[in-house]
């Protein structure tokens, strides 16, 4: 039995090897799950964007691979008006759409496609708005309906966005996956054929790869788009082998069944580092894990108490015990990979004596009792919230503070904490568009304090004024200055204990050339080659 099995295996392996030699370059990516669908505008999961927005589509502007810097995409250039409310985009000419068995494009990309994409999500009476369930959660959560006043085309290759108020991060929003440009011509054709939902199921994009076939929970196949506007991809075939278990992904990587894998088990990192066939790439994630103090509740309304908390807890112990080293101690609420990160800000040191002194100063020489909420789930910015809470609890006990750990089911946790039921809680955030506003305003602004996304419920006018001012200026260097100031105020006021930015690890096989970790957490295979 064994002998015949091994003979069969060797035979097949030979066939495979010979076959592979004669074949085109195929890159296999062991992805972690099935996409929700192939129209990135309809969904919010990173897994979906990896399979749709990134290989198949383009946006008006793109993020330079491996950075949060914005570069031209389907728009060759753009201008912003003096008042910061009018954005004019000059579109790229000669951009070819993909084709499939139901559709062959008759024209290149133009302004109609841009109008179709945004109007579909924005206008509830648009004929395509309700197609495929018609939920545009990302579009809504980035407040696009409130921002947009009008979208018009002045000619086939010029589109003008008018906003209700100045909003500098708007450009970055347009580079996000949900803003992937769809084909109006294809949508029309599918509508005429009476099958509008096909436009979403069998995507047609302008991106570097086109979809060949998808088998749910098994495999997604793409081929390089030969007429891609930025030049044909270096690999010919791209295959996503859907592999939900991290240990199995690693086994497949070792066996050479895939070239790149996401989300390794922290426990496997050591072995990956030693494996001569594997390159372990690493980068700080675009995220922040924090411990927020509800400033509307006593005693956290007192700045000294919040600062005392910052002195009382040993950050390095958390990095070692909870992140197993795969984290970087956080000083600012934005990650170091983001522009405007203020290097000059100094973090609170671990100093229990100072914490005690501050507590005494605040009239709490004997400490106090508080709750400490810990999330029930593993998140990119916090691999084990319960463990983290225990470490914090132990440190707090040393300064006389008794912390009771509380947890709820995830949806319940989010809901209750949004209502401000907690005194202190652990949570975090992963950046959407690489803009500091997406952290500083969304998580710490006064508007967010009112709606609850600001879990500290911290509304501090000097800070809020600065971030709102920065939001309205298009000039990046001026914005950088303002955000740097905001970070100083944040540290002094201490509404959070900034825990860590996780470190992202990406094991790739040695034969993979020029794969770059995407700061937003996505996986991009255009520009990647195989040796």
């Amino acid at each position: 039995m064994n002998r015949s099995l091994s003979q069969l295996a060797i035979g097949t392996a030979l066939v495979l090897a010979l076959g592979a030699g004669a074949q085109a370059k195929t890159l296999v990516y062991c992805s972690e799950g099935s996409p929700e669908g192939f129209n990135p505008g309809l969904y919010t999961a990173g897994t979906t964007f990896d399979a749709s927005a990134r290989p198949i589509f383009n946006r008006l502007v793109e993020f330079e691979r491996g950075t949060t810097k914005i570069e031209p995409g389907l728009a060759e250039s753009w201008t912003v008006s003096e008042d910061g409310k009018t954005f004019t985009f000059k579109l790229r000419r000669g951009v070819k759409w993909h084709s499939n068995r139901n559709f062959t494009p008759k024209r290149d990309f133009n302004a109609d496609d841009v109008l179709f994409t945004f109007n579909r999500a924005w206008k509830t009476d648009h004929p395509f708005h309700k197609v495929s369930g018609g939920k545009y959660e990302y579009f809504n959560s980035m407040d696009m309906p409130k921002l947009l006043k009008s979208i018009t085309k002045s000619d086939d290759y010029t589109v003008v966005f008018e906003l209700n108020e100045p909003e500098a991060p708007f450009i970055a929003n347009l580079g996000m996956d949900f803003a992937s440009i769809l084909s109006a011509e294809y949508a029309d054709a599918m509508m005429k054929a009476g099958t509008p939902e096909k436009a979403d199921l069998d995507p047609i994009g302008t991106g570097p790869f086109y979809l060949v076939n998808y088998q749910k929970d098994a495999v997604i196949r793409y081929k390089a788009h030969p007429a891609y506007w930025a030049g044909k991809a270096k690999i010919d075939d791209l295959v996503y082998a859907i592999t939900p278990d991290a240990s199995v992904r690693y086994a497949k990587l070792k066996a050479g069944e895939c070239h790149v894998m996401p989300y390794p088990n922290p426990a496997d990192l050591e072995a990956m580092r030693k494996d001569p066939n594997i390159n372990l790439l690493t980068q700080e994630g675009l995220n922040i894990g924090y411990w927020a103090f509800n400033v509307t509740k006593k005693p956290f309304d007192d700045k000294r108490v919040r600062q005392a908390m910052n002195y009382a807890v040993n950050k390095q112990a958390i990095i070692d015990a909870v992140f197993l080293g795969a984290g970087k101690a956080a000083t600012n609420p934005i990650p170091p990979t983001m522009w405007s990160y203020n290097e000059a800000v100094k973090d609170y040191t671990y100093d229990p004596a100072k914490a005690k002194a501050l507590l005494a100063e605040a009239g709490l020489p004997n400490g106090f009792e508080t709750d400490l909420w810990a999330m029930p789930v593993q998140r990119p910015y916090n691999p084990n919230a319960k463990r983290m809470a225990e470490v914090i609890q132990a440190d707090l006990a040393k300064v006389g503070v008794k912390a009771n750990i509380v947890t709820y089911e995830w949806a319940e946790y989010l809901k209750r904490s949004k209502n401000g039921e907690h005194q202190t809680l652990l949570l975090g955030w992963t950046g959407d568009n690489g803009d500091p506003d997406n952290f500083l305003n969304v998580l710490l602004g006064c508007a967010a304090a009112q709606d609850g996304t600001n879990r500290a419920r911290w509304c501090h006018k000097p800070f809020d004024d600065i971030v709102n001012q920065a939001k309205k200026i298009p000039d990046v260097s001026k914005r950088t200055e303002l955000y740097k100031q905001a970070q100083v105020i944040f540290k002094e006021e201490a509404p959070w204990y900034t825990v860590a930015h996780s470190v992202v690890y990406k094991p790739v096989r040695k034969e993979v050339v020029d794969f770059k970790i995407h700061p937003f957490g996505g996986h991009i295979f255009y520009g990647v080659d195989l040796k």
Binding site: L5, S6, L8, A9, T12, A13, V15, L16, G19, A20, Q23, T26, V28, G33, E36, G37, L42, T44, S132, G133, K135, E137, N140, S141, N213, Q215, K216, D217, A218, V219, R221, A241, I242, T243, P244, D245, S247, V248, A251, K252, K254, A255, E257, R379, Y408, E409, W410, A411, E412, L414, K415, K418, L427, G428, W429, T430, D432, D451, G452, T453
Partner: protein, 336 residues
Amino acid sequence: MLRFLLTRLSLIIPTFIGVTLLTFAMIRLIPGDPILLMAGERGIDDARYAQLKAELGLDKPIIIQYAHYLNDMAHGNFGKSIITREPVFKEFLELFPATIELSMTAIMIAVLIGLPAGIIAAVRRNSVFDHAVMGFSLTGYSMPIFWWGLLLILLFSVNLGWTPVSGRMAVLYFVEPVTGFVLIDAWLAGDWKAFQSALRHLILPAIVLGTVPLAIIARMTRSSMLEVLNEDYIRTARAKGLAPPRVIGLHALRNALIPVITVIGLAVGGLLGGAILTETIFSWPGVGKWLIEAIRRRDYPVVQGGVLLSATIVMIVNLGVDVLYGLINPRIRKGR
């Protein structure tokens, strides 16, 4: 026989109602709101939340929701997934062949090895072989599937390189899905290499999934055979000089099979449970993995529809087992 079948069939309706009620209640009893889970840290404003809730029909009183659900089921409408917005039935049909292919292979391995092993162990009672079989089956029965699966992958796929790590077929091959059963599709397409690849991918998961049923079948066959071998009619058969293979194969086995078949029938239900783990380890695109993901994300329609469809399959299999009893043992068929 017809009356027997009708009685069995009439029992299916209350079972169905029980299953719908249970899945409907269970998934709602676990805390967790599909819309909030979808929104995550980003959150969702109240107006939008109310709107989505209404669109999904989750704003209505529970009892009305249940009535709608029953009504839809009665019309064969299993609803659409909250996450992918695809019809539940379509997703089920897409994934079910993979589960069947895996489960059938697993049960075949279990029966082909478990049955003879059990028989020989019974006939050679207290021999080395008997002790070995019983030892192995106890080990197999107590083995955590997840660990066992990973262990086999590490040994056969990573270290020895004999079998692929996971998936249904090497990514180099592609056969147009006709039946959804990769082996059959590859064979229909005449693609011999794809067929081989599919077969190699099937071996490990089928062994892992088949381990527990194999252990149960071997033990059950042994004890059932031992009981029958002590019966008077066996002694009579032996006394009248029948050859041992005939005594064991015809007189003993046929009577010993009834409890074994019951166990096989029950094992099919268990296989769907075991498939959840096996499918996750081997990235096998079947219904088990699909259901787990749906529970995690509180995708109500998928959980409700998926469980009901799986339950239907288990009921059909058990009905089949009941009919088999009748064929093997006329006393059951004739209601005596």
